[in-house]
Point group: C2
Chain length 300, copies 2
Amino acid sequence: MISLTILGNNSALPAFGRFPTAQVLQDQDNSFLIDCGEGTQMQLSKYKIKRSKITHIFISHLHGDHYFGLVGLLTSMSLLNRTQELHVFGPAPLEAIIKMQLDAGEVNLSYQLFFHALTSSGMIANTNKMEVSCFPVNHRIACWGFLFKEKKNPRTVVPENARNFEIPASFYEQLQKGADYVNKKGTIIPNDAVTIANTAAKSYAYCADTIFDEGLAEVVRGVDLLYHETTYLKDQENKAKERFHSTSVQAATLASLANVKQLIIGHFSSKYENIEPFLTEAKTVFERTALAIDGSCFKV
Amino acid sequence: MISLTILGNNSALPAFGRFPTAQVLQDQDNSFLIDCGEGTQMQLSKYKIKRSKITHIFISHLHGDHYFGLVGLLTSMSLLNRTQELHVFGPAPLEAIIKMQLDAGEVNLSYQLFFHALTSSGMIANTNKMEVSCFPVNHRIACWGFLFKEKKNPRTVVPENARNFEIPASFYEQLQKGADYVNKKGTIIPNDAVTIANTAAKSYAYCADTIFDEGLAEVVRGVDLLYHETTYLKDQENKAKERFHSTSVQAATLASLANVKQLIIGHFSSKYENIEPFLTEAKTVFERTALAIDGSCFKV
C-alpha cells in the first residue's frame, strides 16, 4: 500500500489558508517528498509526518511555489541532528541555489546530501519497495513529472510453512516469484503451499505544472493515482494555455485518456476562494476525481 | 505613534506553531519589515498586514530562520502586480541569493527592487517619518541590528488658525519647529496660537541575534521599545555564549543598562514548548518586559 498526503495545493502564492505545492508519498519504508513550497516544514509538523522518514525529495521545477521551502527543510533536518543521507532530485540550477544559501549561513549539514540533476527521462531512484522515474512536462520553464511504481513480488513467503517443508531461506526469493520447490527426495512442494498472493503493485504519477498535453496519457497510462494540475476553471482555457497551465476539464480529460484509476486535482489559482467548482467541472468528464485539499490523504 | 507586530519569534526552526523571526514596524505612512523567516507572507495574511504598505525590508543576517521567506514574498508582491519600488537591506551576499532564484524561475519583477548591502554603522534609510540606522552585533556570522527613530517636529500646525492669521504655507515648516511669525505690520503671532505640541518622537531598536554585549547599551540607550533575543533560559548561559546567543536574564540586563522604556524578548529555542519562564526570569531584572508572541502588537 502507498499513501499520498497533500501538504499544499495552491498556485503561485499562498492564499485562503492554502499552502503552495508539496506532497508526501509513503510506502512501508520511506517517505518521498514531492515539491517543497514555502511552509512545507510547518505542514509536515501539522500533519504529523516525520521529517526523519523522508529519504528522497523531488523538485519538479524552479518556480518558487514548488521549492522555496526546500533549504529551510534541509537546514532544519540538520538542526535536528539527522545522520541518514538524503537524496534531492531537481533541475540542475537547484544545486547552486542550495549551496549558496548553506554557504551564506556557514551551515555544515549533519548528514550527507546527494543532489541529482534531472536531465533526461528514465529511472532516477530505486529503493527496496519503489522505483521512481521522471518525465518532462511542458511548462514555461524546464519542468519534470514523476512516476512512482511499487516494487512487489507476486507472492509473499509464509516463513512458518516454508520451514515446515525445510525450504532454505536462500530459495525464498524464487518462492516470491512463484517457483515451486523440489526437495532432496525429489518431492515437489507447490508454491501456494508456502506463499500467499500479494496485492498488485501500485503506482502514482505526479504531472507537476503543465499545459494540457495528450501525449502525457501514454506516460501515465493506467496508474492507480494521478495528480494533474488545474490552475484554472474551464472558462479560462485560453489563459491556461497562454501560461502553460491546465483547466479542470483538461485534467479530467487526461485522466480519462490515460484510463487511470483515480485523479487528484490541485494547484488552484489564488484568484479562486471556492475550489469546489473545480471538482464539479472535472467530474463531468472523469467521475473518480478528488480535490487535493491540504492535509487530505489518499491511500492506494 | 509607531506599532510593532510580531510575525515570528522562534529560533532556528519553526516549532509549537511558532514561526521563525519576522516583525513589522508601522508608522502612519510605511511598513518596515524586519527579518523575513520562512512563512512570513502567510503570517502577513493571517495578521492582515498589507504587503503593499511594505516599502523597506531589513535582513539582519543570513541564517535561514531570518530570511528564507524573503524571495517568496518578493515574488508574491510581483504576482500581485506591485508597482511601487521596494528597498531591501541586508548582508552583501543576499543580493546574489535573490538574483539566482529570480533567474532560475525566469521571474521579471513587476516593480523596481533596490538592494542595499550593509557594510558599516550609520543611517541606511530616511523616509518622511522615520530614520533607520544599522549597527553591528556580535553573532556567529555577520549580523546587524536596526534602530528606528521617528522624525517629528516639536509642533504641528493647525491650518485653520494659521490661515486666520494669514500666515503663508511657506512658513509652516518654521512653525513646526516652534518659530513665531511676524506679519507685514510687524505684529508677532506667537507660535502656540497656531500650533499644537507633538508627542515625542518614538524609537525602536532591534538587536537581532547576538551574544550578550554590554556595549550595545550605548547604541540603544533610552529607546522606547527594545527587542533583544533570548534563545535560552538563564541556566543555559554557557550554551548561549558558545552559540553567540543570549539568555532571558542577559536580555533584561541589557534593557536595564540601556535604560529603555520597554523590552520585548523572543527568538526562543525550539527546545522550549512553554515560553512563560522566559518572561518570569527576565522580569526579575527588568519589570517592563513582554514576550514576542506571534501576532502580538506593541503600540508606542
